[in-house]
Symmetry: C2
Subunit: 318 residues, 2 copies
Amino acid sequence: MVSEFELIRHFFTRLTPGAVLGVGDDAALLHVRSGMELAVSTDMLVSGTHFFPDADPFFLGHKALAVNLSDMAAMAAQPRWATLALSLPEVDETWLEKFSAGLFALADEHHVELIGGDTTRGPLNLCITIMGEVPPGAALRRSGAQVGDDVWVSGVLGDAALALAHMQGHIQLAAKNFAACALALHQPKPRVALGLALRGVAHSAIDISDGLLADLGHILDCSNVGAEIAFDALPISCALQLFLEQPLGKRCLLAGGDDYELCFTASVAHRSEVEKIAADLGLLLTRIGIITAEKKCTVRAADGNIINIEESGYDHFR
Amino acid sequence: MVSEFELIRHFFTRLTPGAVLGVGDDAALLHVRSGMELAVSTDMLVSGTHFFPDADPFFLGHKALAVNLSDMAAMAAQPRWATLALSLPEVDETWLEKFSAGLFALADEHHVELIGGDTTRGPLNLCITIMGEVPPGAALRRSGAQVGDDVWVSGVLGDAALALAHMQGHIQLAAKNFAACALALHQPKPRVALGLALRGVAHSAIDISDGLLADLGHILDCSNVGAEIAFDALPISCALQLFLEQPLGKRCLLAGGDDYELCFTASVAHRSEVEKIAADLGLLLTRIGIITAEKKCTVRAADGNIINIEESGYDHFR
């Protein structure tokens, strides 16, 4: 049987030219470039809570890193390094081969180096800490939204939650629609390039991994403002369109979670710049509402009626 | 029931004057001081693997941070910041109160700030990533041991493993002895001050959390050298002395694991400086052997015979 040290060496040790010292000592050593701040974020994915125990390990490797890259994107930080702590019920070399392939494929795409970690025996649990660089003052915080700002989101919303609802048997998606939604659930694309492009343009940003309303709510709380959102402006897929009259469809859209898109605010004067960023990145960016002085969040239908949503976001302990 | 956000706010959010931005955004922001490298390490503790499910949460909070501080000590880094990812089967406020008290008591002692993390539902799992500062070239790597170096260890060895053997029913310790050994197991003292004092003095260092021979073995492998260790020189407690004729006692001493002491090598010319550090810190530092050119590790008894140890260190997957 492969040992812990062999496992780390075989599956998780790669050249790390961007680090002073990578995997293999008591700690890694990094040089943060002069004039840069370090952005740090940690996410833990647990079997049975965040994914099914039989989830495809390639997708898990991708997603474990993607959720962390999404946090870098939301801070407008350039991701550079990551550590991985991994608890495994047993050493399954086929599983590890696929998991590390998924992880490194995304890491390579974003030039992120795995510089350390830990492996242990236990219930399946993946914990990645990601580190990136951002110039002082350039980070997009939750607290920067200003009254009158446009509220924007990237991509389309709710597909990941829709795929999950299908997998849990609550709805039945056509095969083609499920395939598209499953991609959003299993292989989310962290919006790193968008985050970087929004430096100096956006006033605030967050990634909407806990659902649009919950995460927009954090921006509103931290910025001491409110928002009015136009329900009909929200960007959705054809798959979700079919369920939009149902409570489940509305919940997926407004409170779904697992959408690794960015929600950000920017002044009206910056609209054309945001539109240019969308064109440059080939990424859908949609104006969905406006920041208000009144400290509440309203979602309004085209007929002017307010849409009530009970579950406004995912909370692991409710 | 308390929500995930309230839980983080109540138990884990404190002022972080040493960070640009602490808990509460998509990422924390840190300023690494000019001319410093960042040392980063991650450790994951899993219920049932690293501790008993009913372990005292105050001790767990202490230990989760202590094992990480020990990695900073082994690199001669000044610990500064940590993130905590926590998977919990349920929200138990009494448990969380004690856990965070244990964690912050040790964090305060070392001026470490908790700057971010994640909480989720799942089997109990604690993952801390620690970050510290070290001047370029000052880190104590595993690869620096030189032929002729003295091999040193801090503290006494094997007590944590002895306490565990008692708790598992393999041996029976007297109450007083168990109390002392349990302290080593539950509240290890990370040797941060020692690591800092060894900058420029030691050639190599490692923390011996996986057992003396396994971890010394990493120094030997990385430095391409061997070692001869004098069994009778190894520093032990009175409790362990009583079991030293038994295989279990020898195993606890040489391969026990959970000893968060440092093993380091330094040139013979630095003996008096190491002894001065011991005196200054009020910490037992013991010369246990010498680095050799022949690439093997020998443990020799006072009578000149070689002691054979089968299990040379803890591996989670053997």
